[in-house]
C-alpha cells in the first residue's frame, strides 16, 4: 500500500528524536549526525528498529541536515543513499508490512531574502538536490520539518513538487507566541501549504505537547488535509551533567490522545522523545475511532504573517497599485521608482485595505521584471496578502513563485486559452483565482449568461484539481452610462453565483460609474447594493471616504462589527475633511522664511505638501525649488553643522522637502525634477544595513541629483556594471560592519578597473578618513550632509 492510501484509513505514527539519542550514543558536539549513516549504520538501523517495534509506521531517515551547503555533492549522495538504505533495512529486518521511509529535510540554517542573504531560487535549488537524491534512493515520503520561516518552507515544498511525485508532509516549528519565527500564523501556513497541494501539514519541535496543542487545534480547525504533530518531550534541563526533558512518555501520550480525539491523524515526537514515547502514544490512541478528514471549504489567501478569509465580512482589495489612468504612476514605472509603488502600498495598508492588488502593466517596460520586483519589495513593507494582477502568464508565474504566501490571482476568464494558462499556475503555486464571467463570445448581457460561464469555469477548474473554494467570481461591473440595466445584471449575477454555486464573489466596483460626473456617489451606492447581494470582496479605492463610509456602515448594520467598535473608531474621520496632520501645528513665528520653507525646516510633511499644491498654481516650479525648498534645506544643513539641529530634524525636513517635490512631480510628470548628475548608491555585499544609505539618498535627491539606488547587500559586479552602464560620475558606498569593509574595497577595486573616472564616496559607522583612503576611496563622508557638500562642490 502506498502512503497516501494508508493515511486515508489509519492513524499514522512517525518516529521520535534522533539527534538526542545519537548524542547519548556518543555523537560529539559539532559532529554531523548524517555522517553516522555511513560510519555507524548499525547504530542508525538499531534506532530505526526500536521505533518500528514501538509502533512507528514511518521511519524518518537520518538526513535532517543533508544538503549541499554542508556536504559535497558526492558525499551528499552517499549519505542520503545510505540513510534511506538503513531505514529500509530496519523495516525489512523487523518483518513489518506497511511501513514507510521519509526523506527528512530540515532548515538550511540560512535566512532567505529579504530578511537574510539567501536567494529564494537558490534555496529551491539546494532543496532540489536533496529531494532528487532521496527520491532516487527510494524514499516513500518527503518530510519537510522544523522550518521556522514560511518562505523557506515554500522553497522546500516547491523543490519537492518539481523533483518527485512523492507525498509531501510539512511540519513547522512554531514559537511560544504561536507563530513561526518570521511571523506566520497556523492559519497562514494552512493556506500556503494546502494551496501548494501538500499531503499533510502540522507542527513539531520547539515546545512540548501541551504548549503546541493550541497550534494543533488551529491547524485542525482550518486544514482539509491530515494534521501532523511531533512535539518535543517538553523543555530540556541539565541534571547531574545529563540532559533530561520535563514531559514523561505517559504525559506526552495523554496530551496527544486529547488531540487525536479532535482529529489529529499523524503523531510522532521530536527532541527528547524516544521509542518509549512513541509506544505510549500508539497504545493510547490506536483504538480511537478514525474520522474522515473534513473539507473545510475556506476561501483564504495569506501573507507571511496572516491569512485573510472570505467570510461574512467583506474583504477590501486596494486598487491603487495600477497605472490605468494615473500619469504619475506610469512615470514611476518608467523610472523604475519602486519607492513610489511601495508608498501606495503602505498608504492603502494604513487605510485599512485587507489585500493589495498589484498591477504594473504598461507598454514598453519589462513587465516580468517589474512585477516580480514590485511583489518582492511590497513584501518588505507590508504584510497584507497581494493580488497579482497581470495578463502576462510568465510574469504571473514569476511573481507567484517568489510570493511568500497564497496569493490572489487576477485573473482568469471563460476563454479556453485563459484557463489553460492560469489554472496550471494556480494548481502548482496555490492561489485564489479571480474568475471573470466572460468568454470567447464576450460578456453576456444577462445574469444567467454570466452564471453559465461561471459553471463552465468551475468545471474546467475541477479538471485541474482546483476546488471551487479557490475561485472567486467577478460578475463584471459595467458602466451604467452605456446601458441602464448594466448594474442590475451584475448584481443579479452576484446573487445567483452565491445562491446557486455557493461561490465567493468580487467586483471592480468603480467601473460602474465610468463616464459619469461625481462618480463616488454612484460607486458607493452600487457598493452597498453589491454587498447586500452577497459580494464577498471589492476591488476598490480605500482612500475614498464614500466607499469606506459604506463599508463601515454595512458592517455595523449587518451585525459584523462587535460593539460597533470599528464604526465608532472610524466614523469621526468622515465627518469633516480628513484630519491628517498628526504633528503639532507650529505657532512659532517663521521670521524671514517663506511659508513653505518654514514647513520644511520644521519637518512638517503634510503641510509642506499642502502649501506646495497651493502655490504651484501661480508660481513656477523652478522658483519654488530655488526660493523655498533649497534655502530651507540649506538652513537646516547649516544648523546641523553648527550643532543647533540634529539628525532627526535634518531627516524630518528632508522628508518634508521630498513631499514638496512629490507635488511638483505629480503636477508635471515629465519634468523629473532631477537635473543634476547621476550618483549610484549601494550598501556593499554582505551588509544588510541601509538606514544610513537611505539618508544620503534622500538628501542627494533633494539637492537635484539623479540617485540610482541599488539597495543593500549588493555584489560588487552589479555595482560596477551599473556604474559603467550609466557612465555615472559618482558612486556612493556604505558599510556598517568591519566584516563588510573588505567587500567595499573589492567593489572599489572593480569599479576602478571598469570605470576609472568615477569618483567614489564612502561612509558608514566603522569607516574613518584614514581607512577610506587606504581602501582607495576618493572621499570619506562623516555624515550625509558632508556627502552632499562634496558633490555640490565638485
Amino acid at each position: 500500500m502506498n502512503f497516501r492510501d494508508y493515511l486515508k484509513n489509519n492513524i499514522v505514527y512517525f518516529d521520535g528524536g534522533m539527534g538526542t539519542i545519537l548524542q547519548a550514543k556518543g555523537l560529539k558536539m559539532g559532529e554531523l549526525p548524517e555522517r553516522w549513516n555511513i560510519t555507524h549504520p548499525e547504530v542508525i538501523c538499531e534506532i530505526h528498529k526500536n521505533y518500528l517495534f514501538a509502533g512507528s509506521d514511518v521511519i524518518t531517515a537520518n538526513t535532517f541536515g543533508a544538503n549541499i551547503l554542508k556536504f559535497s555533492k558526492e558525499e551528499l549522495e552517499e549519505i542520503i543513499t545510505a540513510a534511506i538504505k538503513n531505514a529500509k533495512k530496519a523495516i525489512l529486518d523487523s518483518g513489518f508490512n506497511n511501513k514507510f521511509v521519509a526523506l527528512d529535510i530540515g532548515p538550511l540554517g540560512k535566512l532567505l531574502k529579504p530578511l537574510g542573504n539567501l536567494d529564494f531560487e537558490e534555496a529551491v535549488k539546494i532543496f532540489a538536490i536533496t529531494v532528487s537524491i532521496g527520491a532516487k534512493a527510494g524514499a516513500d515520503i518527503i518530510l519537510i520539518e522544523t522550518m521556522n520561516d514560511s518562505l523557506e518552507t515554500k522553497a522546500a515544498v516547491l523543490a519537492a513538487k518539481e523533483n518527485c511525485d512523492l507525498p509531501v508532509v510539512v511540519s513547522n516549528a512554531y514559537s511560544e507566541g504561536g507563530t513561526l519565527m518570521t511571523g506566520a500564523t497556523p492559519e497562514a501556513m494552512v493556506a500556503l501549504l494546502e494551496g501548494m497541494g501538500v499531503t499533510a501539514l502540522g507542527a513539531n519541535c520547539s515546545l512540548g505537547p501541551k504548549e503546541l496543542s493550541s497550534v494543533a487545534e488551529k491547524l485542525l480547525e482550518k486544514a482539509s488535509v491530515p494534521v501532523i504533530l511531533m512535539p518535543n518531550a517538553g523543555i530540556p534541563r541539565e541534571e547531574n551533567g545529563k540532559t533530561v526533558f520535563d514531559v514523561s512518555a505517559s504525559d506526552f501520550a495523554f496530551e496527544l490522545e486529547k488531540l487525536a480525539q479532535k482529529g489529529l491523524r499523524i503523531m510522532g515526537g521530536c527532541c527528547g522523545t524516544t521509542p518509549e514515547y512513541i509506544k505510549a502514544v500508539a497504545e493510547r490512541t490506536k483504538n480511537i475511532e478514525i474520522k474522515p478528514i473534513e473539507k473545510k471549504n475556506i476561501t483564504a489567501v495569506s501573507s507571511y504573517t496572516h491569512a485573510v478569509e472570505f467570510e461574512e465580512t467583506p474583504v477590501l482589495i486596494g486598487e491603487r497599485i495600477n497605472p490605468t489612468g494615473k500619469k504619475r504612476f506610469k512615470q514611476a514605472l518608467i523610472e523604475h521608482d519602486i519607492d513610489y509603488i511601495l508608498a501606495e502600498g503602505i498608504k492603502q495598508h494604513e487605510a485599512k485595505a485587507d489585500i493589495l492588488d498589484v498591477n504594473v502593466g504598461i507598454p514598453d517596460i519589462d513587465e516580468i521584471e517589474m512585477l516580480t520586483s514590485a511583489v518582492y519589495n511590497l513584501q518588505t513593507v507590508t504584510d497584507l496578502p497581494l493580488q497579482i494582477d497581470t495578463s502576462n502568464a510568465l510574469a504571473m508565474e514569476k511573481a507567484l513563485r517568489i510570493y511568500n504566501g497564497k496569493a490572489m490571482i487576477n485573473s482568469v476568464n471563460g476563454k479556453k486559452e485563459s484557463m489553460e494558462a492560469v489554472f496550471p499556475l494556480a494548481k502548482k503555486y496555490g492561489g485564489v483565482v479571480v474568475a471573470l464571467t466572460l468568454d470567447e463570445n464576450g460578456i453576456p448581457d444577462t445574469a444567467l449568461g454570466r452564471l453559465e460561464i461561471a459553471k463552465k469555469i468551475l468545471a474546467k477548474a475541477k479538471e485541474y484539481g482546483i476546488d471551487k473554494k479557490d475561485i472567486v467570481f467577478d460578475t463584471l461591473a459595467m458602466t451604467v452610462s452605456a446601458d441602464k440595466n448594466a448594474a442590475k445584471v451584475t448584481l443579479d449575477a452576484l446573487k445567483m453565483i452565491r445562491d446557486e454555486l455557493g461561490c465567493k464573489t468580487s467586483l471592480g466596483v468603480s467601473n460602474v460609474s465610468f463616464g459619469l460626473p461625481n462618480r463616488e456617489i454612484i460607486n458607493s451606492v452600487f457598493f452597498s447594493l453589491a454587498l447586500e447581494n452577497g459580494l464577498s470582496a471589492a476591488i476598490m479605492n480605500p482612500f475614498s471616504n464614500e466607499m469606506m463610509k459604506v463599508y463601515y456602515a454595512f458592517k455595523a448594520l449587518k451585525g459584523m462589527d462587535e460593539n460597533l467598535a470599528d464604526y465608532i473608531e472610524n466614523a469621526s474621520k468622515f465627518g469633516v475633511a480628513q484630519a491628517s496632520v498628526s504633528l503639532a501645528e507650529n505657532t512659532e513665528s517663521r521670521g524671514e522664511h517663506s511659508e513653505l520653507s518654514f514647513a520644511i525646516i520644521k519637518g512638517l510633511k503634510e503641510k509642506a505638501s499642502k502649501i506646495t499644491s497651493e502655490i504651484i498654481i501661480s508660481k513656477k516650479t523652478l522658483d519654488i525649488i530655488a526660493e523655498d525648498i533649497v534655502p530651507a534645506l540649506d538652513f537646516v544643513g547649516d544648523g546641523f553643522e553648527k550643532k543647533t539641529m540634529y539628525l532627526p530634524q535634518l531627516l524630518m525636513s528632508a522628508e518634508a522637502a521630498k513631499a514638496a517635490f512629490e507635488v511638483i512631480k505629480a503636477a508635471m510628470p515629465n519634468e523629473n525634477g532631477a537635473s543634476g548628475e547621476t550618483v549610484v548608491i549601494a550598501t556593499v555585499h554582505g551588509d544588510i544595513h541601509d538606514i544610513g544609505k537611505n539618508i544620503v539618498k534622500l538628501l542627494l535627491a533633494n539637492y537635484g541629483f539623479e540617485v540610482i539606488d541599488l539597495g543593500k547587500d549588493v555584489p560588487s559586479e552589479i555595482i560596477a556594471d551599473k556604474v559603467c552602464e550609466l557612465k555615472a560620475p559618482y558612486l556612493a558606498l556604505s558599510a556598517l560592519m568591519t566584516t563588510t569593509v573588505p567587500s567595499m574595497k573589492q567593489t572599489i577595486d572593480l569599479v576602478r578597473k571598469k570605470s576609472p573616472n568615477t569618483k567614489i564616496l564612502v561612509g558608514g559607522a566603522v569607516l574613518t578618513e584614514e581607512y577610506a583612503e587606504k581602501i582607495g576611496a576618493d572621499f570619506y563622508g562623516k555624515d550625509a550632509l558632508s556627502a552632499v557638500k562634496y558633490l555640490k562642490g565638485n
Binding site: M181, R237, M737
Partner: protein, 198 residues
C-alpha cells in the same frame, strides 16, 4: 550542555525615552519630533518578542585564554573582564523580527521613522539584556557583559557562541556569513559571575 530559554513579557521591559533620544542623536527639544516619536512608540507597541537563550558554564582563565569547557576564546580584554569570575552566563537575546520589518517598511519612505524605530529597538534590546543579567545574576556580583567584537575579542567568536547555545534553532536568531545577526536587534554576550567573597 543544553541551553535554556527565558521569555519576557512586554510589562517586564520599560521604555526609556532618554535612551531612545540618545540613540537617535537628538540633543534638543523639538515638539514635532516628540510627536513623531510617540507615534512610532504607539505603532511598535506590540512589535516585540523578548527571548533569551542561555547556558551557565564553568570558567577557567589561563593567560588570555578563557576556557568555558565546551569552547575556548582568546582575548586579553575578555580575560581581564572575567578575572574574578569562576563561572559565566553565555547568552543570546532578541526582541524579535517585527521591529526589523518596521525599520524596513520606513527605511526609504520615512528615514526619520526608520531611525526612530532603530533607536527604539536598540534601547529595547539593551533593556532586555539588563533585565536578564540582573535576574540571572541572582544577587551574585557579576562582571559587565562582554560581546564578540569588543576590544580584542574577534567577531568570529560569534560562531562559537552560536554553536554552544544552539542559538539558531532555540531562539530563531540567525548568523549570516558577515557575522551579522538577524533579527538585527539581537545581542550575544558573556557575563562573568564573580567568585564568592569578591
Amino acid at each position: 550542555m543544553i541551553s535554556e530559554i527565558k521569555i519576557y513579557e512586554k510589562t517586564d521591559i520599560s521604555i526609556n525615552s532618554k535612551e531612545i533620544l540618545r540613540y537617535c542623536g537628538m540633543k534638543t527639544d523639538d515638539e514635532n519630533f516628540k510627536c513623531l516619536l510617540n507615534e512610532c512608540l504607539e505603532e511598535c507597541e506590540n512589535a516585540f518578542d523578548f527571548k533569551v537563550c542561555f547556558i551557565k558554564t564553568p570558567l577557567e582563565i589561563n593567560g588570555d585564554i578563557c576556557d568555558f569547557s565546551e569552547f575556548k576564546l582568546q582575548s586579553q580584554n575578555l580575560s581581564f573582564n572575567l578575572k574574578d569570575c569562576d563561572s559565566a552566563i553565555i547568552f543570546g537575546a532578541t526582541i524579535g523580527i517585527k521591529i526589523d520589518r518596521l525599520i524596513a517598511r520606513y527605511s526609504s519612505l520615512s528615514p526619520t521613522k526608520a531611525v526612530i524605530f532603530g533607536a527604539i529597538g536598540a534601547m529595547m534590546i539593551e533593556a532586555l539584556c539588563d533585565r536578564f543579567c540582573s535576574d540571572i545574576g541572582n544577587g551574585r556580583k557579576t562582571a559587565p557583559r562582554f560581546s564578540a567584537g569588543y576590544g580584542d575579542l574577534a567577531l568570529e567568536a560569534q560562531k562559537d557562541i552560536f554553536k554552544a547555545l544552539d542559538l539558531q534553532k532555540k531562539s530563531g536568531i540567525y548568523l549570516n556569513d558577515s557575522l551579522l545577526m538577524v533579527p538585527t536587534k539581537s545581542v550575544t554576550a558573556i557575563m562573568g559571575i564573580k567568585r564568592e567573597g569578591i
